[in-house]
Symmetry: none
Subunit: 418 residues, 2 copies
């Protein structure tokens, strides 16, 4: 099956917003074995929307449209599509009640322009939006399928598997193939190094396609295989996965939807242990990531962000003499911070990060990007030293990654790799 | 002048690579006052490239094409374009010598396929590539301009101002205009409410275009105006801006590249005051945002993330009796947290956030999204109560926004709006 993608919005053609939907949709369709013929972005302009629809449908069996379904005057996708096919509009009472219900539930002020989101072209099939007020819709015209969903990436991510895939499968049953996808998440190797390390793997022979997706500071390797049956697709993936794992080994930390903070949180919860964190250069980011995991309050007792030397002494008991002799960014200080926060919070583990995020504060001995990470338990304290080479924000992000990785490896008993 | 953008490459339509060139080009053209009609991505396929060129040129005065100029077999942009316009190909000897020179300089092995990069359609004007081997070219056909450059973002960034802009200005001298852009950042009103509040403003009469860009939890309003001179463009913007400010008033917190944390940090630094933060439901995010600002160590003394009740008592002195009577998520606790962290850290100000991020932990009286934010100075403690309605991550993000806004308004003396 050939699918075209049309994204609509002045924010795209003005360059104000980077269109990420097209690429996301193309990747998702590829996993189903469906080919994307072309992807087009146009502004909120009736005439161009119509022209683009005609052009795309001439090359494709179906077009998936995102954007322009909001309540404001510049959202004109529904009207433009209705006009393009000479269809009238109708108001769907079920959708209208649903939108009004959302407004009532959250005590939002109802304004009449919101009713616009319950208007559809005649003959359209509504596609429910589980995470927003803008429903999507589908139309069949001259054997071609037109699917329209909102442009908010979070809504696209939900509506694609829940609404769009089933619809496309129903309308084009002959195009349904079994597909297996495996995402392997690595950290610690550059994209070019990952690429080179896997260069001798003959993915083609295994009938597996491979994609590399940098997602700072992680590099994700995505394997996709198709087959007549699910088990055929899965067995192709398994062979390729074994090759990747063999080559990247300890640089792999997670698979598929797993996250580093999620894995660390899961291990903490399973063990029934408690954690306290002392952050300096990461400024709270390690704890922010851990607390993104629902239920993290079970193991996270507290964190302190000791930005000043006084706070390191008061809250963590790091002696002034140590700070003066070795500096706030040093192995000695990191170890005492981890031990101090553990003792202070009466937890099983103490995790500490101290470093220089930049852009200022670096010296010849300790350049910007110097980071010490320490993890203390009842018996001993581990400490790791890194020199990162990024800007302030990315030094914070990669430091938080290194800290969570140390914690995760410690918890899963990968001591040799810690 | 109307410009269409065509990006070419199988890596784009498969979703393997996110196309960033289109957005970069669109933004660059907008600064010149040139309108982008549409942006299309197609695979390396002769027929589709030809179709897309025809479609784009029907809507535009010029098309800028990136990608498919490499030396390998799947790079077929030059041949496809020559065929599309019925032109022959020629080898440019100057370009060939240039490419051979690069290979010699870096001791690279010459293979014959590299000569492909010196081949151009007949009548093409070569556009030099200062940072790679793939030169670009331009063609004039039936009054329309076709500009082709490589797809490597680093090369696009150099060739656009150095080669493409001068060419477009030369060919379309009447399209050279001055442009002014103003971004107005609001928080606290939904997109539909912002739209309605501005509905009576006649932007067209002011010769200003307006765009709405939701950037959770903020809504950005972008005004763009063109003029024969810069001052003409700026004065058009000013008139429209006054109208927007008059209607959105206190919901506006920043302009252009300003951020909420950046403004709060700037005010703290100017006043020479110090700050300590006590976070609960935001899990460190408020401090993470503040510490993204270089130099924040000047005013930020420390933060504590008191996830447990014990930590609220130990570190902030919130009495157990208060926690039992009113709960950890209450105005009483928020006030005592702000006052406690201020006292503990000996700072001028104490900021505290306590709430229920979800998905669990809500009750009828205190549903998920209930948040209390308190700010203590030497004399008094302000406290605000919110009920947000998002998922865990977004409840954290919007709570951090509300906390930073309270701080920023307090510091800038907007007491009535705090």
């Amino acid at each position: 099956m050939k699918i075209g993608i049309l994204t609509i919005g002045n924010e795209l053609t003005s360059g104000r917003t980077q269109d990420t939907n097209s690429s996301f949709l193309a990747r998702a369709f590829a996993t189903q074995g469906w080919q994307v013929t072309l992807m087009t972005s146009v502004g909120d302009e009736d005439r161009v929307i119509k022209q683009a629809l005609g052009f795309i449908l001439a090359q494709s069996d179906a077009v998936v449209v995102t954007g322009g379904l909001g309540p404001t005057a510049d959202d004109m996708t529904t009207e433009a599509i209705a006009r393009a096919f000479g269809l009238g509009l109708y108001m769907d009472q079920t959708v209208l009640r649903h939108i009004r219900g959302i407004f009532e539930k959250y005590h939002l002020n109802w304004t009449e322009n919101n009713a616009k989101q319950a208007v559809f072209p005649e003959g359209a099939e509504v596609i429910a939006n589980p995470v927003g007020t803008a429903a999507g819709f589908a139309l069949k015209q001259k054997g071609k399928l037109i699917v329209v969903i909102p442009g908010v990436p979070r809504e696209v991510e939900r509506m694609l598997p829940e609404g769009v895939f089933p619809l496309l499968r129903r309308e084009f049953p002959e195009a349904v193939q079994q597909v297996a996808v495996r995402t392997i998440k690595s950290f610690g190797l550059g994209e070019a190094v990952v690429d080179k390390a896997l260069a001798d793997l003959d993915f083609e022979r295994l009938s597996v396609t491979v994609g590399f997706y940098p997602n700072f500071p992680e590099n994700h390797i995505v394997l996709t295989a198709r087959g007549a049956t699910e088990s055929e697709a899965v067995s192709r993936i398994s062979a390729a996965e074994a090759g990747v794992v063999d080559r990247l080994k300890k640089y792999i930390f997670a698979y598929d939807s797993e996250t580093l903070e999620g894995l660390a949180a899961k291990l903490m919860t399973e063990k029934g242990w408690t954690l306290a964190v002392a952050e300096s250069c990461t400024g709270g980011l390690v704890t922010d990531r851990l607390t993104d995991v629902p239920g993290s309050s079970v193991f996270l007792e507290r964190s302190v962000i000791t930005y000043s030397n006084a706070a390191k002494t008061d809250l963590l008991g790091v002696p002034t003499a140590i700070l003066e002799k070795y500096g706030a960014v040093s192995e000695q200080t990191a170890r005492l911070m981890a031990e101090g926060v553990r003792k202070l919070a009466c937890t099983d583990l103490g995790l500490a990060i101290t470093g220089i995020a930049g852009p200022a504060g670096g010296t010849d001995q300790k350049p910007v990007g110097t980071v010490y990470i320490a993890l203390a338990d009842e018996k001993e304290t581990l400490c790791r030293h890194y020199t990162f080479r990024w800007d302030r924000r990315r030094n914070k992000v990669i430091s938080s990654q290194a800290a969570l990785l140390l914690l995760k490896r410690y918890l899963s008993g990968e001591r040799e790799d810690v």
